[in-house]
Amino acid sequence: MIRIQNIWKKFGDNPVHRGITFDVLDKETTVVLGRSGGGKSVLLKLIIGLLKPDSGSIEVDGKDVTKMSYKELRALRFKFGFLFQGAALFDSMTVGENISLALRRHTGWKEKQIGESIRYALHIVGLDNVEHLMPSSLSGGMKKRVGLARAIALTPRYILYDEPTTGLDMETADGINLLINEMRTILGITSIVVTHDIHSAFVVGDRFAVIENGITLMTGTRDEIQNSQHEEVRKYISSSLKAQEGRRP
């Protein structure tokens, strides 16, 4: 379980978070909804200690990430897979090397076992026989899938998705949404998805946290969010749905 409590964070004079609070329950997908530039990606980086909050606490399985040493943070990160917005594949390495990098470094497995793990991870995300390709030769959707394969290679307990469907066409985005759901149903992984894609959010989310102007407007299930009487949440949901309907064919 991940418990985020009263997180404050600012960059220079620009406050990004002003008291973010919500819980992420085990084996559920929690979606953090909010407008672009609202500090959602920052929140994911705070969770695995890539950034430190100015105040507040983030507990992962009962341990406060904000008070961990660098060594403890590295140990914590074994529990996490992270799908970055642009996939963040290492562009000097092949797809196979991207996935095997952490396996070689952290597992001590033999080459045969590493090879099998690469193929298994790629198979789960629906890609076969692409190990030898360079990231530059992949489409946006394939990059995200490889990023997800890399994220699950070490069999994490949690996966953090940063705008997983941004920049993808509807069909590819639906494929990614399906994968996110499979991560939970097949592998039992707890996920946090940050997105401003309301359609994707309602497809993958079990629980939601709506963030606006650095504060948590509301947390709840899909029904609670969709039927919310909170004026700002209603406004956000309806405007996002309208904007998205305009884009969907």
Partner: protein, 232 residues
């Protein structure tokens, strides 16, 4: 970052493959440009020395001047300047691009120590390979100097060699190697720092790359003076 790198230097053992790769990139891939610069530096030193000393002093002195200036000053400095552009800019652009495309964050998210993985191998490779390149450049520059002296200044090869032998001191070569080590550390450190902490997307990478070349060149000339003052 430097403090982190030094206190976690033991982690570099885990990334020895990266050190080897960087040694190839910094060392092997820089040989053509060092050879080119070395050959012309040697030739122009010989020709200009001959011009300045014409009829004044025995012509064997040209050999002495070439070997002394090449070993003590010209090749260490010229190699450092050229590599500040080639190696320094490359390192900053690479790390900067990795930073702005979140590849550095991805490494950290995969439980890697990104400084030990990205910075330490480059700095170690720089410290090891710069002196090697300078030795290589020294040899090429001396051969180039002899070629220039013989073909352009019409100094007999025997006179050039005898002047070279009479003034050669091992310390001069060692001094150049010490300079190479210091310059290698300086240039790669400056480049890694600028790249690792880049901000502001592709524009930021461009600015950081320019900043690396400027700062590395300025630092090298200052250190050149400091080392000469202290060690000679």
């Amino acid at each position: 970052m430097m403090w982190w790198m030094i206190t976690n230097i033991h982690n570099a053992k885990e990334y020895s493959r990266n050190i080897y790769q960087q040694m190839v990139t910094i060392g092997n891939d820089s040989i053509p440009i060092v050879v080119f610069v070395g050959a012309f530096v040697g030739m122009v030193t010989a020709v200009q020395s001959a011009y300045q000393l014409y009829d004044w002093i025995p012509r064997a002195v040209v050999g002495s001047l070439v070997v002394k200036s090449v070993l003590l000053e010209l090749m260490p400095l010229m190699t450092a300047m050229v590599l500040a552009g080639k190696v320094g800019a490359t390192i900053t652009a690479e790390l900067g691009t990795m930073r702005v495309t979140e590849q550095v964050d991805a490494l950290e998210a995969l439980a890697f120590d990104s400084v030990s993985f990205l910075v330490t191998p480059r700095v170690i490779a720089g410290v090891l390979m710069f002196p090697v390149l300078i030795i290589f450049g020294d040899l090429v520059a001396i051969i180039g100097g002899m070629f220039g002296a013989v073909t352009v200044a019409h100094i007999p090869a025997t006179a050039f060699v005898s002047g070279m032998k009479s003034s050669f001191e091992t310390w001069d070569a060692v001094f150049g190697i010490i300079k190479g080590t210091v310059f290698g550390f300086t240039i790669t450190s400056v480049a890694c720092y600028h790249g690792y902490y880049v901000e502001g997307g592709s524009e930021g990478v461009g600015k950081a790359t320019m900043g690396t070349v400027v700062l590395a060149c300025l630092t090298v000339v200052v250190l050149d003076f400091v080392l000469a003052s202290v060690l000679l």
